[in-house]
């Protein structure tokens, strides 16, 4: 397994390098001199010269990339022009908030999406299947920021059941933290639940056609046992893989969800950075997200091998 992991890691290296090049090149899109944008309002000549020196902007593009990536590899993503804090510190501060939101959203999506997919597949072609599909398609089509706004209107403004915004760290008050995150994770989890439902349904339909399922039924096993023990266990592999791959969707969805519920996470960091023209922070967030996605891909590959005994023994 370790060798497999190492091999996959090696395959990922060129992709990681390319990602870093893309993220680096983003600043080339800035109209005019990037230093003027980096300096923000603090535009005296000494600051501009210092920034040029720091980022090697008097050098050629490949040298500039080398200077930048060397610093990034040592954990130096630069400094936020807004707060003056190192960007890595900012990212590490905000990341746990988004991870909590992502974990709760994923849990919600799995709790709703997987059972709905199973029920829909087992009842293929019936009204239950149609209803589940309509719900799933609606979940995929609803913009999550609008869902958030509507929930705030109903649940917070009208019924005053949950707070409309804010964040309490779990270390401070665990239950309050869960309570404040319930509505945002419902909003973020809806689209994912729909995607998981559709994936589980097609995966289950594939498995339910197999001979061993027919054999299990012929043996006289109860339908419940056939579906859960024989079919679902085999349909689980692609579902787990997809779940790991939903990481990207979660982080992207978190951008809007955090904005609506004023949650001080990773998503809010990138939006605030965009409006403060804090471009180095934008680059840092994109880079860390992409690296996180590659890491989740690696985990998905490993889960695929672990869950599928045939692949495990083939290795």
């Amino acid at each position: 397994m370790f060798v497999f992991f190492l091999r996959r890691l090696l395959v990922a290296v060129p992709t990681l390098i390319l990602i870093s090049i893309f993220v680096f090149l983003l600043q080339q899109l800035l109209p005019g001199d990037p230093v003027l944008a980096m300096a923000g309002e603090d535009r005296d000549l000494a600051t501009l010269a210092a920034l040029r020196e720091r980022y090697g902007l008097n050098e050629t593009l490949p040298v500039q990339y080398w200077v930048w990536i060397s610093a990034v590899l040592q954990g130096d993503f630069g400094t936020s022009i807004r707060s003056g804090e190192p960007i890595l510190d900012l990212i590490l501060q905000k990341l746990p908030v988004t991870l909590q939101l992502a974990a709760m959203s994923l849990a919600f999506a799995m709790l709703i999406g997987i059972p709905m997919g199973i029920v829909s597949a087992v009842n293929k072609g019936t009204k239950i299947d149609l209803a589940a599909n309509v719900i799933a398609l609606s979940g995929l089509s609803i913009p999550n920021f609008w869902l958030g706004i509507m929930l705030i209107l109903l649940v917070s403004v009208r019924w005053q059941l949950f707070p409309a915004s804010g964040y309490v760290p779990p270390s401070e008050d665990f239950w309050q933290s869960i309570r404040t995150m319930l509505m945002p994770s419902f909003v973020l989890g809806t689209g994912l639940a729909a995607a998981l439902m559709r994936h589980t349904r097609s995966s289950m339909l594939e498995v339910l056609r197999q001979d061993y399922v027919r054999t299990a039924r012929a043996k006289g096993l109860t339908e419940r046992r056939v579906v859960l023990r024989h079919a679902f266990r085999n349909a689980l592999t692609p579902i787990v893989t997809l779940t790991a791959l939903l990481f990207g969707e979660l982080v992207a969805g978190a951008v809007l969800t955090e904005q609506i519920f004023t949650i001080p996470g990773f998503g809010k960091l990138i939006v605030d950075a965009v409006f403060n023209r804090d471009y180095a922070v934008v680059q840092g967030v994109v880079l860390v997200t992409a690296f996180g996605f590659i890491f989740m891909n690696l985990l998905a590959d490993m889960a695929y091998v672990l869950l599928n005994p045939r692949l495990r023994h083939a290795r």
């Binding site: 390319l18 990602i19 893309f22 899109l29 951008v255 809007l256 939006v271 996605f293 590659i294």
Partner: protein, 291 residues
């Protein structure tokens, strides 16, 4: 065993194109989706000639007014007609969806064909770049690109188009790989047809159906992405109407004028649902296995 050619089914006796069309027409959900999309397209096209108010004209006497005979859907925070802004907003949303998918198709399909058909180093380079771009979540990449390009509807469309390109490269490449191995392509090569002719006459028409399905579904994603960028202030700029920017304003008046937030959200939901249903219908109609 009956073959496709001697099957008694009237649908199967037709050429592939009209067979797909017949299957699509029989797909009720897909047709419903097409109807929803058609409705919004007509509305967007007719926006300049419809007897509606100017979407940016303000009426200080109608600030946050509920629906009335003058303002059918109500008025916004500076007294602009919500119905008119919704109809003009449809134009911005559909334009963003179609143009950004057009950009993604224009970049992605040729690159996918080159990667799939020529293979070797060209394929390796294009595929690695595609993987790298796919590792950046769609919306994060679009936000970053829109941020660096500057906030405007044009830049938002460009950013969404670039962010959607890798999906089309990947799909086209995969399709080309399977089509290029077919006997008729081998024969075309054997009789010495020039590469550009093989690509245009034999490869492109046969890889198009799944790309068309993906394009339809991506328009849905692009419309949500445009609304998201406009909601964040990175897309359509005020006072020009857009469903996303209308929601951004509406969230500040939830208690006083909840309808301001209701209409644009319903519109985004319905049009995106339309494209998703249309995409599902097209997928079923164009899938030869579903015969």
């Amino acid at each position: 065993m009956s073959t496709v050619s001697d099957a008694p089914d009237a649908v199967l006796d037709r050429p592939a194109k009209s067979r797909a069309w017949a299957k699509f027409r029989a797909h009720r959900i897909g047709m419903f989706g097409a109807g929803l999309v058609g409705f919004f397209v007509i509305l967007a096209i007719l926006a300049p000639i419809l007897p509606i108010q100017d979407p940016i004209a303000t009426d200080w006497g109608a600030v946050r007014q509920p629906p009335s005979s003058t303002y059918w859907l109500g008025a916004d925070e500076i007294g602009r007609d919500l119905l008119s802004r919704m109809i003009w907003g449809a134009q911005a949303s559909l334009l963003a969806g179609v143009v950004s998918v057009g950009i993604a198709l224009g970049l992605g399909v040729p690159l996918g064909i080159i990667a799939g058909y020529f293979g070797g180093w060209t394929d390796a380079v294009i595929s690695r770049c595609t993987e790298a771009l796919l590792a950046m979540p769609f919306l994060i990449l679009a936000i970053a690109l829109a941020a660096f390009l500057g906030p405007s509807l044009t830049n938002a469309m460009l950013a969404i188009g670039i962010a959607a390109t890798p999906v089309f490269i990947r799909i086209t490449r995969g399709q080309v790989l399977s089509v290029a191995a077919e006997d008729y392509v081998e024969s075309a090569r054997a009789i010495g047809l020039p590469t550009h002719l093989i690509l245009r006459r034999y490869i492109l028409p046969n890889v198009l159906p799944p790309i068309l399905v993906q394009a339809t579904l991506t328009i849905a994603t692009a419309i949500i992405a445009e609304a998201s960028l406009s909601f964040l202030g990175l897309g359509q700029q005020p006072p020009a109407p857009s469903w996303g920017s209308m929601l951004n304003t509406a969230k500040n008046f939830l208690a006083q004028a909840p309808l301001m937030a209701l209409w644009p959200g319903i519109a985004i939901f319905v049009v995106v649902l339309g494209f998703n249903l249309l995409g599902d219908g097209l997928r079923d109609a164009l899938d030869p296995r579903s015969d």
